[in-house]
């Protein structure tokens, strides 16, 4: 058995009530592991895109895609090729600021990671940072020393590179 890895599955779904429920329910029922799931608008207002990161081996991934495709409200679904994918995640990180000296250190770190400080209080900073999950992990690692008060990550969203798409064609 090959080891399971994180794979990104992208689904174009009808933008109507109940669709997220049936997708989430399918994962629970079939014993698939969701690492993260994001839902948002697409270029067409009646369609939404669900981006799911699953921890799966090849066989399980095949089932994930096929079972999702079976749902009537899933218009199109595919795995995004890991070699040709752009993934992004956004995180809001509230960092503890014990002293003025550390405040400066943290802010320079934020700049290195191309993040932004979006809120400042006497004892804390809120940082917005966008990037691959790895980049966010690395930033959070650096912040450990000062102390992360609160963290909100969106989970990843993704598209495949180049002209290829999994868009719905009428």
């Amino acid at each position: 058995m090959e080891n399971p890895t994180n794979r990104v599955v992208s689904a174009i779904v009808e933008n109507k009530p109940g669709v997220l429920h049936s997708v989430a329910n399918l994962f629970r029922r079939r014993n698939f592991n969701i690492e993260s799931i994001t839902v948002g608008a697409t270029e067409l207002k009646e369609l939404a895109r669900i981006t799911i990161t699953v921890n799966a081996d090849e066989k399980t991934l095949d089932q994930v895609v096929k079972q999702l495709a079976k749902l009537i409200d899933v218009v199109k679904v595919a795995e995004l090729d890991p070699n040709s994918i752009v993934t992004r995640e956004l995180a809001l990180v509230k960092v503890n600021v014990p002293s003025v000296k550390e405040r400066a250190d943290i802010i320079s770190c934020v700049h290195v990671f191309r993040g932004r400080v979006v809120d400042v209080s006497p004892d804390s900073l809120m940082v917005e940072i966008t990037g691959t999950p790895d980049k966010i992990d690395a930033f959070l690692n650096l912040m450990k020393a000062s102390g992360v008060i609160e963290l909100a990550r969106t989970g990843i969203t993704a598209l495949s590179r180049g002209a290829s798409s999994i868009n719905f064609d009428e």
Binding site: V13, E14, G18, H21, S22, N25, L26, R29, K59, D62, Q63, K66, Q67, A69, K70, L71, I72, D73, V74, V75, K76, F168, E170
Partner: protein, 568 residues
Amino acid sequence: MTKMSGAKALIQSLENQKVDIIFGILGGAILPVYDALCDTKKIRHILARHEQGAAHAAEGYARASGRPGICMATSGPGATNLVTGIANAYMDSSPIIALTGQVPATGVNTSYMIGRDAFQEADIIGITTAITKANYQPRSVHEIPTIINTAFYVATTGRPGPVLVDLPKNVQADTAEVVFTDKIDARGYRPVKEPNLTAISQAADLLAKAERPIILAGGGTIISNASDELAKMSDMLMAPVATTFMGKGAFPECHPLSVGSIGMHGNPAANRLMGEADVLLAVGTRFSDRATANLNSFVPNAMKIHIDVDAAEIGKNIDVDVSVIGDAKIALQMLYTATEKNLQKEQNGSWAKRVREVKEKLNPLLKETPKDLNPKTLLTELRKLLPESAIVTTEVGQNQMWSALYFKALKPRSFISSGGLGTMGFGFPAAIGAKVACPDRPVVDIAGDGSFLMTEQELACSVAENIPVTVIVLNNSVLGMVAQWQRMLYKKRYMAVNLGKTPDFVKLAEAYGAQGIRVASIAEFQAAIKKALKSKVTTVIDVPIGSEEDVVPFVPPGCGLPQQMGDY
């Protein structure tokens, strides 16, 4: 364009789908639809006595006729009582449409009732998401025709299955201008009919060179009406045909190449030959664990071809060498043509000889064979007494597995049983549904005392609605199948399986106005069946059998198909 109520729009949409029968029970939240039923002459409503009965009857109707079966219930408990029947139809891929009432979307004191835990409110959409192909809840009258069209299209095409439409009471009662069209709203749903040519030619290559081919026909063969194509294929390849339990009837079991059904309680000849084949052609089966037993010894020596209309079944339970995604009937036609061209003619007949030999040698034997009223004798006798056109349903448990072993199904859609979900209480209401679909054919439910008691209240329905069927109660006063497991696998530590003093089934039948007959010998059984077949009213035949009779052979859990316990 006409102005009409949602309820009327629903009835009209159902009529447009050629619905002539609805099995249901009414209640507060579905009253507008029942009111609209007063004004149609095209639809007969059959009042079940429990919603589970209505759902199973709809499935019996669907499986006997090939047309979608309709069941209807009110909101809350009415809807939740349908759930077992819907789950059953989902597992066995039967096209049924479940219509449920729902509390009004808008209320007197509120703009929104749904979600406020109103009287008899249940989230049936949420509850049935995992056991329906799709479910819908129209929020305005004008949506109804398209939703009903879509529900029927989804339920009956591809791999069929149940679809639920939940109707808020205000949507039933409101009036609006309604346009009836053929429009279907399911762009994400594109069932494949015709398989890919490359897959067909790969499969044909394997079959043309096969020395010991075997065909495994599943329920999908029956659903796609592919029995003729199956028979042609078997004939060309001289391949024995095994079926899954759900495939029983796809191929006449009296045919010299029929080896019966495989599985935990399968025919030993079928189980044995699966292990000897060099090419397996599996048609419309999902390789259920009860059919395959331990996968490590399931058809270990064969190249495997899998035809299925549901792509998600390919590779779900077993890995195959060639997958053919498409409708079984079309796939078999294409495969026949492709194989015929390359068929290696010089068959030496050794495989056919081996099949004959195994069939003769491996015959399931019963412990209590001397006894007159034993399942084997009874069911063999029943086959002789019933015309070929008869439809048989079964309950679930020993009665069902004995039927699989000893009752030879001769035609597709003539053997109807709860295969996937294993729902005790399925057989009797399913028999009622089958009889409604095929009023000119005799319908017999082979039952156990335990499972018949789960839905026996439908005797009231069958008598009141003049739907005469025959129920054969193989009465052993125990929940026999679990008792057998406790006997074989739990050191005879019997717990909660003894039914003690079961009701007097003759009196029970008579209490409902049906006919009850108790038999004490095979001669009396023969007479009772003959009487039942002529009866204008439902007949319950009580047949006492030994309480320790096992279903053997038996592949214990964890073992492979060849490791069958029992004498054969």
